[in-house]
Symmetry: none
Subunit: 206 residues, 4 copies
DNA sequence: CCTTAAACGAGACGGTACGTCATGTCTTGTC
DNA sequence: GACAAGACATGACGTACCGTCTCGTTTAAGG
């Protein structure tokens, strides 16, 4: 969920191209954060990017494509998966990592946008889906190793477990609007660990 | 979070007043569900309610007030608190009740709206806050009775516990967009119960 | 080619309607006169009329309709046909009348517009056609009476004669851009009279 | 008012210069004829000339200069002055020549443009003025010879006479939009001759 | 024949105006 | 007196064209 340093180059590279593209996408995310998707205006984005309205429309068909592109660009599930040799630490570390990814204003804006009216756009919904699918998939080894080490019951479902881990965090972000910190992360890890040890996430469940 | 049949009548009662009011608010919720807050249009609401645009503006200052009022009217925390004599059943029942409250299209629309761009309106944020605060407060006795019965550790924090209970449900609603049913509810209850028994929700924590 | 005092009311009569309509049409003609059809801008017309752009578009589909309507409204062939008992005076009077109709800035603007790029619009071309057809038809009696009085050869074609009468005037207006006055009118009348007496306009000709 | 085969070369002669210049000016006149000055776009001209927009702007400062240059290039008063020894024939021949100059689409386009919104450009107005001034000047000998031969009154003003000659033709072109042919030309000549013989064009008049 | 400078193709850009749509205010007539 | 109807100012939408400005790439001399 941070800048992708690799050259994705979905647009042309001539002239001021790349600079304009970056400026407009950054402005879009900033506006998304400040005013939200519903109130986001192409003209404000353009002004903020120091660019003319028609320049935005030259590269993006409409407001929706602009937002979609801005989110796509910044939603990169580069989450790092801990491997401490102890499932309790692993879950805690993972949860803390998720929490930290919400600390920059830009990533807050992205998360908020992904769960706002923008999510009615099929492309945005798909971005969100892939983001979480990727996150669940990458976190699987944590549970796999824990099972191998005998820390968790065999048949413990990795995805169910990770969902349980992030659920309290997203409840605070999206529902109760409480701040999140390492303590919140550890709390979520404890809940998950207790449930996992009790066999709540064993496969037959869905 | 269901239709309130009682006459709240915060507006005038003369003429076609109440009928118009109800029709417009119902139309507002329907539009909220279909198009979302960002794309909600006073003209569409008016058309749907079989009423003229100016009639809407006569009663509500603007689009924001209309939405706020529609949500206020329908967000009524009339959740029923189970008392089965067993905390496992109580949590399961409560979770199932929460799930069922999402079954009507209108309540889905309300929940979606409460967590969409509309939540940037202070009034809507306040509605959401009060709704959940009320829900947590009313559910406290479940935990209290469980502690008294010795089913859960003393010092188990009711609010923390209930938050843990609803977290997986709201993750499915808001994040993963998965359908929710009684199984989801029971799963959430199991997680919570395991964690609670393990003492994860004891007071010192926050 | 002057204001039509009769209530044409092609638009609704509610609200500021008629006032706005008149203001916009007047502004349109003024802009036509100052900048011409090619450079006429709806936004400038609106500003000049003290009205918002969308108000113009509410009543007229586009720039073309606006211009067409403005011209229609003001092109009223209310030319008065002299009857002095002498064809020489009649032609002179008629020519002078035509010249005088070009004296107001507004009528100059209309004439210019009718012979500018605006005439590529089929509606404007039709307005012009009808205007001149009507003028030729109304002037017929002058020639008819002259023939009856024996002042002109029988079989003198009225339309041919009137065309010859106005040709030098319109040459000055449209081609040589010379000012026109009563002397120009009398000159045109003399040419026409000499030719008519010589039998140049007798029917067999076309 | 036809293609000038001489190398005017107001631009450089190196490279593809002359070919491009000719193609663009031809395309400009074609567009002038089809869409008129008001709707003429540089991009359409460029496309039609098989050239890129920037190539047009490299040679002409703007749309106005392009049109001006295209008209200048093609408005060449190469009218041939008849000398048949008889003023009646001379006038008829001259009129027929004027008519024939309107037969090519390109010359029609030029004439239309000269009397359209383009004429608001001072340069275009000047082109028109010079074109007609030149035509009147070159036609003078016709009248001079007629006077010498005693066919017309002494003091017959050549310019007035020629204006009278072309007036009916331009009325058909610009006002009544009727087709013109040799008959129209002869008719104009007859009118003019009758008036001239009657002394209508004697000098004191203006 | 081969280089070399101009002219050209391509297209992004800031800008003006277009014509559309929704907001929220207002007035007029009608039930 | 509340409502329907709808005009209005405002402001954003998304489009087309203007005229300017790089960049590479021909291409037609001139060495």
């Amino acid at each position: 969920m941070t800048f992708d340093p690799l050259p994705p180059a979905p647009a042309n590279v001539v002239g001021r191209g790349p600079k304009v593209r970056a400026a407009v996408l950054a402005a879009t995310l900033a506006e998304l954060g400040e005013t939200g998707f519903a109130a986001l205006t192409v003209e404000n984005v353009a002004r903020r990017a120091g660019v003319h309205k028609t320049t935005v429309y030259r590269r993006w068909k409409d407001r929706r494509n602009l937002v979609t592109d801005a989110l796509t660009d910044h939603v990169v599930s580069n989450i790092s998966i801990p491997d401490t040799g102890c499932v309790a630490s692993d879950l805690s570390q993972l949860a803390r990592h998720v929490v930290r990814l919400q600390n920059s204003p830009i990533d807050q804006a992205v998360t908020t946008a992904l769960h706002s009216d923008a999510a009615r756009l099929p492309e945005v919904a798909e971005i969100r889906r892939q983001f979480f699918a990727d996150r669940f998939r990458r976190a699987e080894p944590i549970i796999g190793r824990a099972v191998e080490r005998g820390e968790l019951p065999s048949d413990t479902d990795p995805t169910l477990t990770i969902k349980a881990l992030i659920a309290p965090i997203y409840l605070r972000i999206l529902v109760t609007a409480e701040p999140i910190d390492d303590a919140s992360a550890d709390h979520a890890a404890e809940i998950t660990l207790a449930a996992a040890r009790a066999g709540v996430f064993r496969r037959p469940r869905c």
